[in-house]
Symmetry: C2
Subunit: 131 residues, 2 copies
């Protein structure tokens, strides 16, 4: 009789371990997805700078937000959180663009970017689209 709560607690601890393993897997996936996303936005920043493409694209950004909110809704994730998340990422993209502009590429923002590209990126560092 007295063993029952302990057994239930032991089962809960096991289940907690399983959930934590899932969370760890998901976090690893998130980190790698984010790394890949920043590779893409870095390319976008350089491409726009090199070819004189408009740094910001309000229509694209509006579409991105609407799409992300819709996807979140379908996945039962708070759409407001999804939008906050996108803004969080965009702030980091802007920080990367600013680092490129300062020629201080370093990690994830393209160490060894050619100077002309960095200078061009600087002219475009008002890009707040986050792509």
């Amino acid at each position: 009789m007295s063993a029952a709560p302990d057994t239930a607690r032991a089962a809960a601890v096991r289940r907690l371990g399983q959930l934590r393993a899932s969370i760890d897997n998901i976090d690893a996936a998130l980190v790698h997805m984010l790394a890949e996303r920043f590779r893409c936005t870095q390319d976008v920043g350089l491409l726009k700078a090199e070819h004189g493409l408009p740094p910001a694209d309000p229509a694209r950004e509006k579409e991105q937000i609407a799409r992300l909110r819709r996807l979140a809704d379908e996945a039962n994730l708070d759409p407001d959180f999804a939008e906050k998340f996108l803004n969080f990422i965009i702030r980091e993209v802007i920080r990367h663009h600013e680092m490129i502009a300062r020629g201080n590429g370093g990690r994830t923002v393209g160490a060894g970017i050619a100077e002309p590209a960095a200078a061009a990126a600087e002219r475009h560092n008002e890009d707040q689209s986050g792509e």
Copy 2:
């Protein structure tokens, strides 16, 4: 001759479209990974509350941060950003736990959570582990 810059620009615009398609795919993956992560942390919150498990686990959290920084480093993502990202998620997990505690589950935080679980979650709403 004069067509060359236009051709280069057209190629750049095409490449921009490809990068944006990749970013959109990645964002969809991120939203779904986040939705799944919140399903897990919601289960963790309820499990801890129901079984009187300690809400916070500093050792686990320290390990999570160290692991995420290591994974980020390997993926050429700024480890400081990875840590900021984890903290961003943790703030949302805490918000969810607070919503559970208020019995205001709603979306992503388990509408229809049994009242005793919600009350137990309230007693544990100091859980800041974010799991």
